[in-house]
């Protein structure tokens, strides 16, 4: 043994598992002295629990899932008082999208062709369809997201609410694992979903759905997955963590490079990775997901605070919690920087060490987000469930 431990890392079959898969398959982990085995997992809850109890050393995670426990969310099925999770690296920006069935897309165009022609498209046409259905006594439309604590849940809810659709009253929201979204749409169980790549493209290529809005149009450069470990693990294995982060930083830079695109697609298409058609993987990789450039790997405090503001907005956590403390307990840009500093020329220090607040334009004409006033932002929406 070199002194560095064997690591077991988990992932969900999604395009943004690329930094883990690439670092493993191209030998970046090995070059860092790590012997990594990857474990494809079936649910986010399993990922979280396995990392929390040490059955996995780290994993591909939904950023809000890592934040939920620190914010006092009670949704944990098994590990209400489990060890705290931290996010020392962001795996990607963008990648999710809202897709509706072709039938619903047609109904939306019929209801409000002007609204459907706007870019980025709003949910106003959907609001009309929902009102029409209610008038006819039809059951509410069903939309699926991947987890209660996910960018996908907050993105869909935000987008619906900006058009006056109350996501808790006017539609039925369910949770479905990413690989099952398409088959549930095919079966007619769900009318729309918000999920990460490549599953939107899979629905489109199968002729089942239409992408209405992608994350890069909803929030250009908006946050998505993180790499998560427990705080205790990071404390006990600082060298292994730095080595793993360095390998994934190099993997992210590799994955961004258009010269490697085809190789990346072939790698992800393997059945033990994402296991879908290369064509579907290519779509989001071509103009959507960012792994590395513009400092994408840095876990930004503002992103954590936005997620937390949405947890408050939708009543998942109490409004009086200390959002900044929760953000700082989970998001660890210091750890990312320590690794990036020694990762070599793939890292542009100016981007990783730039502390200036990124400009976050108001999303869909919503209130402006000031990360120092995340709690006030959370309470400033006309549709929401913030509780004291």
């Amino acid at each position: 043994m070199s002194g560095l431990a064997d690591l077991k890392l988990g992932f969900i079959p999604l395009t943004d598992c690329a930094p883990l898969v690439v670092a493993k398959s191209l030998g970046f982990f090995t070059e860092e002295g790590l012997d990594v085995s990857l474990s494809r997992e079936a649910s986010w809850a399993t990922i979280r629990d396995k990392v929390a109890v040490g059955a996995l050393d780290g994993a591909h995670m939904l950023a809000p899932m890592a934040l939920a426990a620190a914010a006092g969310a009670t949704g944990g099925l098994t590990l209400d008082v489990g060890p705290s999770l931290i996010a020392p690296m962001a795996l990607n920006r963008n990648g999710s999208a809202i897709t509706v069935s072709t039938a619903l897309a047609d109904a939306m165009r019929a209801a409000d062709p002007e609204a459907m022609a706007e870019q980025p498209v709003s949910a106003r046409a959907l609001a009309r369809v929902i009102a029409e259905r209610a008038g006819q006594g039809l059951s509410p439309l069903t939309f699926a997201v991947v987890f209660p604590y996910s960018m996908h849940n907050y993105e869909l809810r935000y987008w619906l609410a900006q058009a006056g659709i109350d996501p808790d009253r006017d539609v039925r929201l369910v949770v479905t694992p990413p690989p099952r979204m398409v088959e549930q749409m095919r079966a007619g169980d769900i009318d729309g979903f918000c999920v990460g790549a490549p599953w939107n493209a899979v629905a489109v290529l199968e002729g089942l759905g239409e992408v209405l809005i992608s994350a890069s149009a909803f929030w250009p450069g908006g946050p998505d997955k993180v790499f998560g470990v427990t705080e205790a693990w990071a404390h006990h294995y600082p060298d292994e963590l730095r080595a793993a982060l360095r390998a994934m930083i190099r993997a992210s830079a590799w994955a961004d490079d258009p010269a490697n695109r085809q190789e990346l697609i072939d790698l992800l298409a393997r059945p033990d990775h994402v296991g879908v058609a290369p064509e579907a993987l290519a779509r989001a990789l071509n103009d959507e997901i960012v792994f590395h450039r513009d400092g994408a790997g840095l876990p930004r405090r503002e992103h954590a605070l936005w997620f937390l503001s949405q947890m408050v907005r939708w009543g998942q956590v109490a409004a009086d919690i200390d959002l900044e403390a929760a953000a700082d307990a989970v998001y660890r840009p210091d750890m990312f920087r320590a690794a990036a500093l020694t990762a070599g020329p793939v890292v542009d220090p100016a981007q990783v060490f730039d502390d200036g607040p990124p400009e976050l334009a108001p999303l869909f004409e919503g209130p402006a987000f000031d990360s120092t006033l995340a709690g006030r932002y959370a309470a400033g929406f006309s549709i929401g469930r913030a509780r004291a």
């Binding site: 079936a42 649910s43 109890v53 059955a55 949704g75 099925l77 489990g82 987890f147």
Partner: protein, 211 residues
């Protein structure tokens, strides 16, 4: 155990009142059979197996306990239901493979549901489900107690504020203000906290706080 398939609605209703209902979510029929075998001492018993979790089916069946493999993709869906509706929570038992050392013990130590290493010796099923259910009942009770304590505290604060208002507006002393509130509560057959809250709300309206 495909029970209830051809029973009359009334027979089902009678059975419902007493049967222990176990929902097993597992694509593997052998596992559901093992759960049924392990619960043989429990009569009557309904074990329903679904390859997949279906929300409507689960609501209709109203299980006493849900058994699911830790590796099941349905866990996120199940978890979201617990998160979203406090209305009708159910204990969940998860079965963990022996290939995940530590997961079971840690999970039991940490929380609400029980895990079992390497599933399913039938003899172990019953005690595990019993433990899961009693533990779940205890947690629910503690949560209920906590909510009640919070509500009591809130009511007491409201009464204090209403007393203060009466003392100021009616020139009563503290004891007099409390007696007046208590009389109002008795006359109207409402809890004193509710009377105090009404009083404060009306006072707010009279002052123009609300429209």
């Amino acid at each position: 155990m495909a029970m209830g398939a051809k029973r009359s609605p009334r027979a089902v209703a009678v059975l419902r009142a007493i049967a222990m209902r176990v929902l097993v979510i597992d694509p593997d029929p052998a596992r559901a059979a093992l759960v049924a075998e392990g619960l043989e001492g429990v009569h009557p018993l309904e074990v329903r197996r679904s390859a997949r979790f279906d929300e409507r089916e689960a609501i209709e069946f109203a299980p006493d306990v849900v058994v699911i493999a830790a590796e099941s993709p349905d866990r996120d869906t199940l978890e979201s239901l617990r998160e979203a509706s406090q209305a009708n929570p159910r204990p969940v038992v998860m079965f963990v493979d022996r290939s995940e050392p530590g997961l079971a013990e840690q999970a039991v130590r940490a929380g609400v549901a029980a895990y079992v290493v390497d599933g399913l010796a039938p003899a172990r099923v019953r005690p595990i489900l019993d433990v899961a259910m009693s533990r779940f009942a205890l947690t629910q009770q503690l949560r209920g107690d906590l909510a009640k304590v919070k509500a009591d505290l809130e009511a007491r604060k409201t009464v204090e504020r209403a007393k203060g208002l009466l003392m100021k507006e009616r020139g009563l002393d503290e004891d007099g203000a409390y007696r007046l509130l208590r009389k109002l509560a008795m006359d109207r057959g409402k809890p004193i906290g509710a009377i105090a809250a009404d009083l404060l709300a009306f006072a707010g309206v009279l002052k123009g706080d609300a429209s």
